[in-house]
């Protein structure tokens, strides 16, 4: 797997960017180490976004609690209050 399977370069054309952590990286090179790219992304590098593959493999989502999956359960946990009728 190459880093472009997991991340997409955004806002700039593929090319060189000087990073404070790793020096100059040439993002036109698909064989940059995935670990470096992931570290950049984790530290807020503004020129990367994730792909669907990256979301599934590098950052697998933890299993969701039942309450979070079912909208009905959430409603039961905190039912929406109906507006009270004004007393006249």
């Amino acid at each position: 797997m190459i880093w472009t399977d997991y991340f997409t370069l955004i806002k700039v054309l593929p090319g060189r960017i000087v990073t404070p952590r790793f020096g100059t990286l040439d993002f036109s090179d698909p064989y940059l180490p995935v670990g470096k790219i992931q570290t950049l992304f984790d530290n807020g590098f503004p020129y990367l976004k994730t792909t669907w593959l990256e979301k599934d493999t590098l950052y697998p989502e933890p299993p969701k609690a039942v309450e979070n999956i079912s909208g009905i359960s959430r409603e039961l946990a905190s039912p929406v209050k109906k507006p009270s009728k004004k007393k006249t």
Partner: protein, 216 residues
């Protein structure tokens, strides 16, 4: 009638204060009121403390910048008071460039300017580019009256940004440019770029040497 005069007077003072601080000078102590001083030790990472700059500096057009990093606002620590956050992001079609400078020939001077209660800093970036080739002469021609943004990197890899949303770095002087007088003299262009700032910061963002797309 008396009340009206007071309001007018107050408004005038506020406008002048905003204007002055908008320029970046006259930073008041209010911005640092939440900050505690701290002990400052030797602070050398792994004992490293080489002087000088890296032999590459980065430059671009000031009006090519879309987004500037943010200066600290009411920082909680003195470390945060010296750090900018965010990146220099270029407008679509613009990028930053690299300029080679001879080893041990580049330096960044930091001078204090103005008088009491209005102090600021002037950063002077001295570089020496070897040779007198057409590209270099063209660079000098193109930048001599232009508003620039520049980034210098010290030997520890720490970056210093020259340029902000209000002010640009400017070509200010040529020092040691020419052919030299002897065969062991120095042939090349010596250039000094100046930038004035209210405060000193480390730039911790990235430097895009590739063309921006899609941003404003």
């Amino acid at each position: 009638m008396t009340k009206f005069d007071i309001q007018e007077s107050k408004r005038t003072v506020s406008i002048l204060t905003d204007w002055w601080e908008g320029l970046g000078f006259g930073m008041n102590a209010q911005n640092f009121k939440n900050m505690d001083f701290a002990d400052i030790g030797k602070l050398l990472t792994d004992g490293k403390n080489l002087g000088g700059l890296a032999n590459r500096i980065y430059f671009g057009l000031w009006n090519g910048v879309s987004t500037w990093p943010t200066d600290p606002s009411a920082p909680a620590t003195i470390e945060l008071a010296g750090t900018q956050t965010g990146d220099v992001v270029m407008k679509a079609g613009k990028r930053m460039f690299e300029l080679y400078t001879t080893e041990d020939a580049a330096k960044l001077d930091i001078n204090v300017i103005r008088e009491e209660v209005g102090k600021g800093y002037e950063l002077l970036l001295h570089v020496f580019a070897p040779g007198l080739h057409k590209k270099l002469l063209g660079f000098m021609n193109a930048t001599k009256n232009e508003d620039l943004v520049m980034i210098a990197q010290d030997s520890a890899g720490q970056n210093y940004l020259m340029g902000c949303v209000i002010r640009s770095a400017k070509f200010s002087a040529s020092d040691g440019s020419g052919t030299g007088s002897t065969t062991d003299g120095r042939l090349g262009l010596g250039m000094t770029f100046a930038y004035r700032s209210a405060n000193l910061y480390v730039y911790s963002g990235n430097i895009p040497l590739t063309e921006a797309v899609g941003s404003v």
